[in-house]
């Protein structure tokens, strides 16, 4: 696997994603999205709204899975925006880990409004 994808996998794990390299896990009730891009530098998945990808799909379920093709991994934010070439969907979400808050006593808690568990499957 190439270096960019390795960097993505490392940073995604650090950001709180469960990273899968082979097949999608069996997770009943999970929302599943096709990620348009992955960002290696930050370990983020990029979800673009479309008729097949509602804005709320990666937010409403407790568990969410993103499917990411290896060739959709870009180095960084600047490369993502260059790849989009000014053509933006109505909502572009750059997701870096599970929903989290530190609003109570600055202690981290996950799954506040969005999913508490996030997976990414590198295909």
């Amino acid at each position: 696997m190439n270096e960019l994808v390795e960097t993505f996998a490392r940073n995604a794990a650090a950001a709180g994603f469960v990273v899968h390299r082979v097949a999608a896990p069996e997770l009943p009730g999970a929302g599943v999205s096709r990620a348009a891009y992955g960002i290696a530098a930050t370990g983020s998945v990029v979800v673009a709204s479309s008729p097949d990808e509602p804005r709320s799909r990666h937010l409403l379920p407790e568990v969410h899975v993103s499917l990411l093709r290896q060739d959709a991994v870009v180095p960084d934010l600047a490369a993502l925006f260059a790849a989009l070439a000014g053509k933006l969907p109505s909502a572009l979400a750059i997701v870096t880990g599970p929903s989290r808050s530190a609003d109570i006593e600055q202690r981290l808690v996950v799954g506040v409004h969005g999913p508490r568990e996030v997976h990414v499957v590198i295909e």
């Binding site: 950001a15 600047a78 000014g86 506040v112």
Partner: protein, 444 residues
């Protein structure tokens, strides 16, 4: 003027939270190859937008309209409030779900909506807690910094009508359940805007909880409040600022959800708003556009200056006023509202310069504070008596003979000072220190 004093608990909470945030920033900055270069670039990008603000706003509005959104330009807080209320009423809204927006605090939006019969619920966890408590944010990115788990449990229990345990997970789950209903029932989603991108007409919105996504996915109407200075020319410029925003605010490489919203839902999409309204708010920002304070418009509201400020960390956000606090608030609020209405704020600083060092967009905050103090004197906002006292003092102490005379008089007058003259007020409850018999300079 009275300032609320932090009790021990609040002081400890503020101290611990700001320390964590500032250490987070330092670590996150250290991970960048060349943070100084990035800060310089960020500064240049912000200033380029501000120097030619009208042209940038025109470009943003054209691109927004091309994407199907509507722009509303508002000169004052009153106009902005009225605009949002009108949009809500015209769409027949009963309930608005809000994502965190300091600008909405600045213009006092919630009270206006409620007065017009539109219910409004804050959905950021910290803001929700404060709304339940009937309080204002004390930190621009960690609004409920002073609340404990027990405080939060009491507030959430009152909503449920049943006790919620003061465990962190239980509290988060209770808030999730209470607010999920709000997302689903709300007719309007109201958000702020971290940035507006001129080339695409997009609003950039960052949240860690995901509430920014839900309020712009489920309600029929999206209203975004945008400070007119928050425009960024291109997506490439945005990428520079995004690399600094979360790192400087919380120490994250990116905020969990970084969202670019470009117009309403498109054909075939099953969620997203039918209408997108961007309310561009001036509310005093034009005052800053010319002259030396224009750099303050570069602020990206990360909160880094609050976390390092010795005054903020000991006094707490409540001491500054209801909206912006810390060094950025002490500079911005007098400029937005008028120095004569906020003459105390420029003094809420030790001028140590920690804020300037922490600012990701290199605003010389402590220099601006000093300039504001100069203006207080120059514009004769400071009382005549105070100005006279300092004029006399500088007159005396800038001449060696008069300086010597004054210290001689001081030695002589010390016993008298406590009894009569201006020294008396100061001496209440204090022992006046005696001046040495022999001056230091005479001992050499």
């Amino acid at each position: 003027m009275s300032f609320p004093v932090l009790d021990e608990h609040r002081l400890a909470a503020t101290d611990a939270a700001t320390l964590r945030l500032l250490n987070g920033r330092i670590e996150a900055w250290a991970q960048l190859d060349d943070v100084e270069d990035l800060r310089e670039r960020a500064h240049a990008i912000r200033m380029a937008a501000i120097d030619d603000l009208d042209a940038h706003l025109d470009r943003f509005v054209s691109a927004l309209e091309a994407a199907g959104g509507r722009a509303h330009v508002c000169a004052t807080a009153e106009e902005a409030r009225a605009t949002v209320v009108r949009i809500c009423l015209e769409s027949g809204a009963k309930l608005a779900a809000k994502s965190k927006s300091m600008l909405s605090e600045e213009i006092g939006l919630n009270a206006a909506l409620e007065a017009a019969g539109v219910g409004v619920v804050e959905t950021d966890l910290g803001e929700y807690i404060l709304q339940l408590a009937g309080e204002h944010p004390v930190h621009i990115i960690a609004p409920a910094i002073e609340k404990t788990a027990d405080d939060v449990a009491a507030l959430l229990s009152a909503v449920d009508g049943a006790p919620v345990e003061p465990r962190l997970e239980a509290l988060a789950q209770a808030a999730r359940r209470q607010l999920r209903r709000v997302f689903e029932e709300a007719d309007v989603g109201i958000t702020g805007a971290n940035f507006a991108v001129c080339e695409t007409g997009s609003i950039c919105l960052v949240t860690n909880e995901g509430n920014g996504g839900l309020v712009t996915a489920l309600p029929r109407v999206h209203v975004a409040l945008l400070g007119i200075e928050r425009v960024v020319p291109t997506l490439d410029d945005l990428s520079v600022l995004l690399q600094l925003l979360a790192r400087s605010g919380t120490g994250q490489t990116l905020t969990t959800y970084t969202r670019l919203l470009t117009g309403p839902r498109r054909d075939g999409e099953e969620d997203g708003p039918d209408e997108v309204h961007v309310v561009l708010v001036d509310n005093g920002r034009t005052n800053l556009r010319r002259g030396r304070y224009r750099e303050m418009l570069a602020c990206i509201r990360c909160g880094a200056c609050l976390n390092v400020c010795p005054v903020y960390r000991k006094a707490g956000g409540g001491a500054y006023g209801p909206v912006y606090s810390g060094p950025m608030g002490a500079v911005l609020v007098p400029l937005l509202r008028g120095l004569e209405r906020e003459p105390h704020l420029p003094h809420a600083s030790s001028l140590c310069g920690a804020c300037t060092t922490a600012c990701p967009v290199k605003i010389p905050l402590h220099e601006l504070l000093l300039d504001l103090r100069r203006d207080l004197v120059g514009e004769e906002i400071v009382s005549r008596r105070e100005r006279l006292a300092f004029t006399l003092w500088s007159l005396l102490w800038s001449r060696p003979a008069l300086y010597r005379l004054s210290t001689a008089l001081g030695r002589l007058g010390r016993p008298l000072g406590a009894i009569a003259g201006p020294g008396r007020t100061w001496a209440v409850g204090r022992a006046l220190p005696p001046l040495a018999r022999r001056r230091y300079r005479d001992r050499a």
